[in-house]
Amino acid sequence: NEPDSAEAPVEDGEVTEEGAAGGDLVVANLSDAVAIDPQASNDTPSSNVAYNIYEALVVQDENMELQPGLAESWEPIDDTTWEFKLREGVKFHDGSDFNADVVKANIDRILDPAIASPRSFLYDMITEVQVVDPYTVRFVTEYPFAPLPAHLAHNGGGMISAELIAADYAAMEAGAEPGSEISKNPIGTGFFKFESWSPGTEIKLVRNDDYWGEPAKLDSVTFKVVPEGLTRIAELETGVAHISDPLSPSDVTRVEATDGMYVNRQESVALTYMGFNTQKEPFDNKLVRQAISMAIDKNGIIEGIYDGAGIPAVGPIAPQVFGYDESVTGIEYDVEAAKALLAEAGYADGFSTTLLTNDNRERVDAATYIQAQLAEIGIDVQIEVLEWGAYLEQTAAGNHEMVMLGWTTVTGDADYGMYPLFHSSNHGESGNRTFISNPELDEVLVEARQNPDPAERLALYKQAQEILVDEAPMFYIHHQEYLLGVSDKVKGLWQHPTQILMLHDVTLEQ
Amino acid sequence: MTTIVNDNQPILEVRDLRTSFFTGNVEVKAVDGVNFSVPKGKTLGIVGESGSGKSITSLSILRLIQNPGKVVGGEVVFKGKNLLEKSEAQMRKIRGNEISMIFQEPMTSLNPVYTVGQQIGEAFQIHEGLGKKKAIERSIEMLKLVGIPSPEKRVHQYPHELSGGMRQRVMIAMALACNPELLIADEPTTALDVTIQAQILELMKDLQDRLGMSIIMITHDLGVVAETCDYVAVMYCGKVIEYAQVDELFKNPRHPYTVGLLNSLPRHDIDLEDEELSVIKGSVPSPTDLPKGCRFAPRCPHASDICALRLPNLEEDENGNQIRCWIYSEEWDGDPEVNVHAERTT
């Protein structure tokens, strides 16, 4: 249900021992991919599969730093133009060449209204893609946009074979849905090739032996759909699967206690928060928001519900995200102070309100926890659980008072972690579901996204974080830790802070 | 108890038969001491009002009483052997073979999911060990025997495809399949229209003449008894209260109940003198709550003290007719002049 994902390449992690090459890695997934078209899907399972097939121009490492991908280098030419030098000699799985035309075809497709790509927001500042020469491409943006390379590193920027794109358009002419041709036979440049997909059951990938870089070590990877957490573990235990993705916090102890498997923890760039509708009484009062933020013990939630999987959030962005400033301090847990603040705000006797959440179990549990804690400062919380579709609609329309939500800064850049969430132009469905509108903050966020100077940007984001702590439009709960249940046979696995499994170096011990 | 001395050896003798139903902790004595005999080749009629135990008697003879019912006493002597002492397997050999039975409701007494032929043929398969095909052939013969037109076609039909009269013929065919020596017909025509009833009764009479079997004809219709039977047993509340040759019974009924029955019957062939039908007052007592003395005493116009106190025995006269009534005993303490049969009005 989270918005979702991006990518990143290699580095250390647990990549130490070498297992024997080959084998079929089975990943038990919560849900099936929606489409194996990076431009037409935005869910984690899809990204997880797509990452192995398609590659982007830029790659984020596990520290979220940008590394060359299909592009060897990039630089801003002027305020609104970025130039990328592409890697030569890269071939798609269908044998076609990767070059600047392909890049143009891909970006054009994402921005094509007929495709209505859910990824288009990542690139909608691009007004033109210029092919300078076969291996040089330029992106012209509508306004100065510093995080563009980070955006291009996103999984949505994975490059699809131009021939396939053409075929997909042809199919659309014939009445098919966009992307259906691509999902049927996805062609990228990645280290795994698509083999088969039985929807709802499993997707199988095989090694691309003609990979331009070092080929993957596994023969194949199977992404198997196992929706029940309990069952996923059973699969792990019986050896049917090697990885349970994700692992419920509640199952951590179980996995830890079982021989032959371990828990893989990965800090993430995700945020869990409880948003206040700042346009509604009494949450239009900053003091109330602060008081509530003060009255809830984040650590209790992290320990009690997420089983310690995560770190308390100070502000909206996680430490790995570019723009994070550790000097900013958050609101501390202090029930007495909270009561005082509430009294100051004129609600000494508390009030009644509702807390909306979707039917995600941890969120519901966290909501229940918050309900209990707020009762102590006299706030009577009614929990209302909505099913996802209705939930999105309700929260976008601002029908809520308090709401449990999350956000993942998939680009690893503070811009993505703040601009959609807090800029007043993004009220509602665009991301700002607290409906905060603070002119000073708006100004800082716009400035920060357009300034090409990283140092200046850092300063601006520090300022933004300070404002956000003070304004408390949301109660920042935690930056989750992604949990995997992994069989001891799996070597060389690591998970990206955007939740993607890094399978390039994985080997299976027989 | 004695049996009727007759020129004809009885094929079946029922002596002091008792059958009870045990529901909860009460015992319902449905049949409570029944005696009669069926002379060879003759027809015995059993009449009585509803609930008097006619059907239970016949089921007891074949030992078909099921839980919670039980034959609790007496003897059923068939060809000199007491059927109540036979094993279940021996009984099965007798049922449908030596003694057969026809039931009241031709609608419900045939299994709706099997064809007529299958059901008749089953008897041949069981008792004569015939194969399926042979059994069907014999079934066709039987259908012909009971006068069903185009039996080759009918044999493959299901009971619901036949009319009531035909079904009853099928029942008869089934009962007669293995040439039984005794046929028990439990109200074989009650559910049928009179014109059809006439056909069936005629058929039975005809078959009896041809095959020489003995028949127990159970009915509540005194007309049927008069026309088809040689002997009659009148039952009331689980007991036989009068047993006589048919002419004798109609000419000279002796039990007040028999007389009452005859009197309350409107006739289609003659006009009654009275506007009013003569009636038996009251109604049949509940089987769970029977009078202590003579069962008929509460309704009997002649009842005296002894009737209410003690149950009369079934006494036999010199002609072999039997009667269960204090009036005909030495101990009679009522009006000595009473002349029951003279009260007949029809």
């Binding site: 909501a367 229940t368 926890y369 209990a372 | 509803s50 009650t190 219709d221 109604s283 709550d289």
Partner: protein
Amino acid sequence: MSEQAINKSPLSSPPQNPRIQSWKNFYGKFRKNKAAMVGGFLIIFFILVAIVGPYVTPFEPNTQNHLNKLAAPSAEHWFGTDHHGRDIFTRIIHGMSITLYVGLLSVFIGATIGVFLGVISGYYGKRVDAIIMRCMDVLLAFPGILLALAIVSVLGGSLTNVIIAVGIFSIPVFARIVRGSTLAVRKLEYIDAVKALGASDFRIIFKHILPNVTSPLIVQATLSIATSILTASGLSFLGMGAQPPTPEWGAMLSDGRNYMWDAPHVAFFPGIAIVIVVLAFNIFGDGLRDALDPKTKN
């Protein structure tokens, strides 16, 4: 001669209130059915627990104690604690009234509408019947889960809406049963008799048909309570149901399934609780059926 001689002797017992008499008759039959008696007593017991239980439980149903979460059953926590450290025994006791409420109310809704449609359908027959019965077919053929989801989504997630959804599920069952009985009763001669007296349709339906279809109805209602409780817990299991922290058993079960490895009791006790309550209604319904069935002899 008569087609079928029918004659039963009158009860010669002294005049007594006939209602008491027939109740005694029913009760006499009912009492013989031991299982049904157990069911009846269990239900009474459950109702008592639902009323009194919440006042005597050792803990608060919603008080969390994360230090003592997922504790195994012990002398202090009879059924252990759940993932918020709440006492499961307490929550089950508090959930009793919810479960009964769900079962009873949803059946009430379903039965009311179902009976109405069934009687109309059976009594008027022809086109009315055809239309109503086709609609019932649609409902029957329609995956209930979608209906539930729709209702819960449109009206918002709450127990009441689950009850409405479950109630709607059960309409066709009642409509069919009542229609069937109505058809049977309508053929009886006493209906013709009151018609011949000039009774209106309204009177015939409400005074003469409805009271005489109650036996199968009561039986069905009891059994439907059982089914409804199951259905509702299924919906809660799928996450459409009571709002947390309501101690609804289906929801507890749904929560509990995540801890089956480490703390099987979290799912086990609510499950057993459902089984027992449903069982009680089932055997009670069975007993009622036997007692109300004129064919089973006293």
